[in-house]
């Protein structure tokens, strides 16, 4: 459990957008999915997840609607908007460039 990593600034938005690119999801679902997809390395603090969701909604990158969850409970689902999709694509590119460049500087382990 100790190999969990603090998320670098700005990556949270990218992770949320990426997760929502698969399917509309509620907040809890997003955090579960990120955890799964990162093999338990990345865990999103709820304290930062929800403010981030509201911020992305305000920017118009994601849209929210109330739906019914798997176990028949009312839940707030988020989905990617068209501009959110564009944002994801460009941020993904940026991230790839950044990590590649950082890796290059650091050199082989």
């Amino acid at each position: 459990m100790n190999d969990r990593i603090e998320l670098p600034q700005g990556t949270l938005d990218l992770l949320i957008l990426r997760t929502l690119a698969l399917e509309p999801q509620h907040g809890w679902g997003i955090s579960e999915r990120v955890q799964q997809m990162s093999s338990d390395v990345l865990r999103i603090q709820q304290g930062s997840l929800y403010p981030a969701l509201h911020r992305l909604e305000r920017r118009g990158w994601i849209k929210a609607h109330w739906g019914t969850s798997d176990n028949n409970r009312r839940a707030k689902y988020y989905e990617l908007s068209r501009s959110g999709r564009r944002q994801l694509a460009s941020e993904r590119d940026l991230w790839r460039k950044l990590t590649a460049a950082v890796a290059q500087v650091l050199g082989p382990a």
Binding site: H26, G27, Q45, Q46, G47, Y50, H54, R59, S69, K76
Partner: protein
């Protein structure tokens, strides 16, 4: 950007929904998380604990979400306002005091500004007013005089600096109305006057170029007010006729309701119609009531126009020396003509009102500081649990904003109640048709005052609240460390209140002394129990002198016979008014000067008993009698000034003079001086007497006269009896301008009187506020120093010593204030020099009296709280340790 704003606003408007959704969403999350942990085999309590830990502060998360949604900026403002409102309710005494103080300050300013706006600032209802100029002639012997119509015509044809010029001649008519005959005022204007001013009749037509020529068919435009009051706002009146004097004129239109002029205007006629009935239209030497309005040509400045007009006037003086010698021309912006006289008084009062507001703000700032001392712990606690200092300042300013806003609302209410009272003080002449009251511009000004008050009364306390030392405040149950700094602030504020109050009091003192000296001036006449009524015989039957003489003689005889009448007389002019006729005279045997330097006295046509009715002293010779009739030798009286100037060192009685200049082939008509009477202040109490010549009315009949009636009791009781007499002689003869001479005297000093009343009110207000300010500072300091005082007494100090100690603090404040205020007054009172009469702006006596009064008030204000030190029980004071 816009989307973002919509999102924020929606979040704000749907706050309830958004909040509950947020709640649901977060609960949903934690429930899922708990379920997950339960599935993983944790106990329920363990799962709950874990979830709570992971979540951090739930409220914190919510707040962060709100931040993310962008509602927080507006929300905190709303919070501050709610919190501010709660605090004010919690301190009702403080809130009421602060609110009332600011309401008085803002109210005074709003009321004065509404008057200043109405008279000085409100846009005149003309096109491009800044290019409009009013012109009149001048002569060194009189100063400003009217324009002769032939001179105007030459000005217009020779001038290039003006795109247009128009003559505006004040006239009046007798109108035989439906019930009581009335005298109405009017303007005879060049046909281009209205187009030049950019004024369109609301109905009917303006005047045509043809109507400039003498002999034009009589037509009139009605003022909107007259059309409403006399003709029931009936549109069918256009094309109908109206009887003015004995003539019939066709109504061709109605002026717009907002039209106003320097003089009152009920009807307007083309100058050609006036020229038909008036010889003065062709007499270059006649200067009646004509002014000239002009519109500067594009791109030209007033200075250029003035230079050109001076050249033209000089040319006319050379061409017609007999009537134009030494005559100049004066140009002034039209705006100034509408407000010239009262401008200095208005500005002084606006400045004074602003001072009252400053005193009020200082007082409220002091209240805030005083309360700040009590709340310093609350502030320290709030800072300790995480409020930023910026947030605290913002919140303090929000509180002062609330106070200022409520004070402003109450102040506007006060002003609305006060404006009618102030408006009643202002004579209609000064108003020149301006209407006073609340409007958008005035409200905007009040809003500005609210913001100003917010900063002035809130900034010092707010900044001060930042400087405190949190740890020290929290320690030891709050023995405040910043008290010293706070007291310095408060002392400074109280001292500046004293200083400001001193400036206002000095201003009021100087005004009071001026008015007192002015009213103590020997006016040369007695106003008590004298009534004045004006009449102008304008109908065709009075074209012949005998009819005029008969009317006046009959009126006089019958008025004199009324019970209660001590004496009655008529005269063309009465003292303290403005319109006087003047003429050149030639004294028998004098050396002949240039045409523009002949003696030019005022000419008064009076009946016997004139000087007796007005209480003017006869100094030499005798007054007019019934013997000075039409065919008797012509006689005259002169005033002392004329006697001294024209006949220095000799007795004028028996000397002769004639009107006009001696001309070749003209037989001189000599008048013999029979008496010398005292000078009267014809041009206002502050102005010295001019040369005056009196003529008996039967030898120089005049159609326009003022009837003066002196009675044993209240003279206004005679009005209806006099009306009855006039009606029985001529049913269609109107009487106007009815007033007592006392009212005439009062009106002549009205500007100074209003200034004094308001200045006195303002300085009284400032004085009370400053007293309260000192009281507050001393009273607070006594409370704060109770411990120190207790120790001093315990150590053997006499109570008298302690009392002196506290009083010394008050004395220091008032001394500082008096020094600051005196220095400021010396600079500021010079600005009101124009309003003063026979008093220097730096009058030492006024300064001394005001300083003593303030020192006494300060002494009393500090003595009352200081006395409490006498009751300090050292044991109780020390026990508080």
């Amino acid at each position: 950007m816009l989307d973002d704003l919509f999102f924020r606003v929606r979040s704000l408007l749907r706050r309830e929904t958004v909040e509950s959704e947020m709640e649901d969403e977060l609960r949903f999350h934690s429930e899922h998380q708990i379920e997950k942990y339960l599935k993983a085999g944790m106990s329920r309590s363990e799962a709950l604990r874990r979830v709570r830990l992971e979540f951090g502060g739930l409220e914190q998360v919510k707040e962060d979400c709100r931040d993310a949604r962008g509602v927080s900026l507006i929300e905190t403002l709303a919070q501050d306002l709610r919190y501010g409102g709660r605090t004010l309710r919690k301190w009702p005494g403080f809130a009421a005091a602060a609110l009332l103080t600011l309401a008085l300050g803002i109210g005074a300013n709003t009321a004065i500004f509404s008057v200043v706006y109405g008279i000085l600032l409100r846009p005149l209802p003309f096109r491009d007013v800044s290019r409009l100029v009013l012109l009149n002639e001048t002569t060194p012997r009189v100063g400003d005089v009217s324009v002769s119509y032939p001179n105007f015509r030459d000005w217009r044809s020779q001038s290039h600096a003006f795109a247009e010029m128009a003559a505006v001649n004040a006239v009046n008519f007798n109108m035989a109305g439906s019930n009581q005959p009335e005298n109405i005022s009017g303007l005879a204007v060049s046909p281009n006057f209205l187009p030049m001013m950019g004024v369109q009749p609301v109905m009917g037509r303006g005047f045509t170029p043809d109507e400039e020529k003498a002999g034009a068919a009589p037509v009139v435009l009605l003022s909107y007010a007259l059309w409403q009051s006399q003709f029931g706002a009936d549109r069918r009146m256009i094309g109908q006729t109206i009887r003015l004097d004995s003539h019939t004129a066709t109504i061709v239109g109605v002026l717009p309701p907002e039209f106003r002029w320097v003089e009152k205007c009920d009807v307007m006629e083309p100058i050609g119609v006036w020229a038909t009935h008036n010889d003065s239209a062709t007499e270059r030497g006649e200067r009646g009531d004509l002014l000239v309005a002009g519109r500067l040509a594009a791109g030209l400045r007033m200075e250029q126009a003035r230079a050109e007009m001076e050249t033209i006037a000089a040319g006319l003086a050379r061409a017609y020396p007999e009537v134009n010698d030494q005559c100049g021309v004066k140009l002034r912006p039209l705006r100034e003509a509408f407000s010239g006289d009262v401008r200095p008084a208005m500005l002084v009062l606006l400045g004074a009102a602003l001072f009252v507001l400053l005193v009020a703000c200082a007082n409220v700032a002091n209240l805030f500081l005083m309360r700040g001392a009590v709340r310093s712990r609350e502030m320290a606690v709030r800072i300790a649990i995480g409020a930023s200092r910026g947030r605290i300042v913002r919140q303090m300013l929000t509180e002062s904003f609330l106070v200022a806003l409520l004070g402003g609302v109450a102040g506007v209410g006060l002003a609305m109640a006060g404006i009618p009272a102030i408006a009643r003080l202002i004579p209609p002449d000064t108003l020149a048709g301006a209407s006073l009251g609340m409007n958008g511009a005035v409200l905007l000004f009040s809003a500005g005052l609210v913001v100003l008050s917010m900063f002035l009364s809130g900034l010092a306390p707010a900044l001060h609240s930042m400087s405190g030392n949190v740890q020290a405040e929290l320690k030891e149950g709050g023995k405040t460390t910043s008290a010293g700094a706070r007291n310095r602030w408060r002392g400074l504020l109280a001292a500046s209140e004293v200083g400001l109050a001193l400036v206002l009091l000095v201003g009021a003192g100087l005004m009071l002394k001026s008015l007192y000296r002015l009213l103590a001036v020997d006016s040369g006449f007695r106003s008590a129990h004298v009534l004045k009524l004006e009449m102008d015989l304008r109908t065709v039957q009075y074209d012949k002198d005998p009819a005029v003489i008969a009317f006046w003689q009959q009126t006089l005889d019958r008025v004199r016979a009324l019970p209660g009448v001590e004496s009655a007389a008529i005269g063309t002019d009465i003292p303290l008014t403005d319109d006087h006729s003047r003429a050149d005279i030639t004294v028998e045997g004098m050396a002949l000067p240039s045409p523009g330097s002949f003696p030019h006295p005022d000419i008064h046509i009076v009946s016997p008993d004139y000087e007796k009715t007005l209480g003017i002293r006869l100094l030499r010779g005798h007054t007019f009698t019934q013997a000075n009739r039409e065919n008797a030798p012509r006689v005259a009286m002169v005033n002392v000034t004329a006697a001294q100037r024209l006949f220095p060192g000799t007795d004028p009685v028996g000397k002769r003079f004639m009107f006009g200049h001696p001309g070749a082939g003209r037989k001189p008509q000599w008048l013999t001086i029979v008496g010398v009477i005292a000078d009267t202040r014809m041009y206002g109490l502050a102005n010295p007497a001019r040369l005056e010549v009196y003529l008996p009315f039967r030898q120089s009949p005049s159609n326009g006269m003022v009837l003066l009636v002196k009675s044993g009791q209240e003279p206004t009781a005679l009005v209806s009896a006099i009306r009855g007499i006039v009606t029985s002689i001529d049913r269609e003869q109107p009487i106007f301008g009815i007033a007592t001479m006392q009212e005439v005297v009062n009106a002549s000093v009205s500007t100074r009187r209003i200034t004094l009343i308001l200045l006195g009110l303002f300085s009284g207000l400032a004085l009370v506020l400053a007293g309260i300010g000192i009281y507050g500072v001393i009273s607070y300091s006594v409370t704060q120093r109770a411990r120190e005082i207790g120790i001093r007494i315990a150590l053997g100090a006499q109570r008298g010593d302690v009392l002196r100690l506290v009083l010394a603090q008050g004395a220091k404040i008032s001394a500082a204030g008096i020094v600051m205020g005196s220095a400021a007054s010396l600079g500021l009172t010079r600005l009101m020099a124009k309003l003063l009469y026979a008093v220097s702006a730096a009058d030492p006596a006024t300064f001394a009296v005001v300083a003593v009064v303030l020192a006494l008030i300060a002494m009393v204000a500090s003595y009352i709280p200081a006395r409490r030190t006498l009751r300090v029980d050292p044991l109780i004071a020390l026990r508080q340790e």
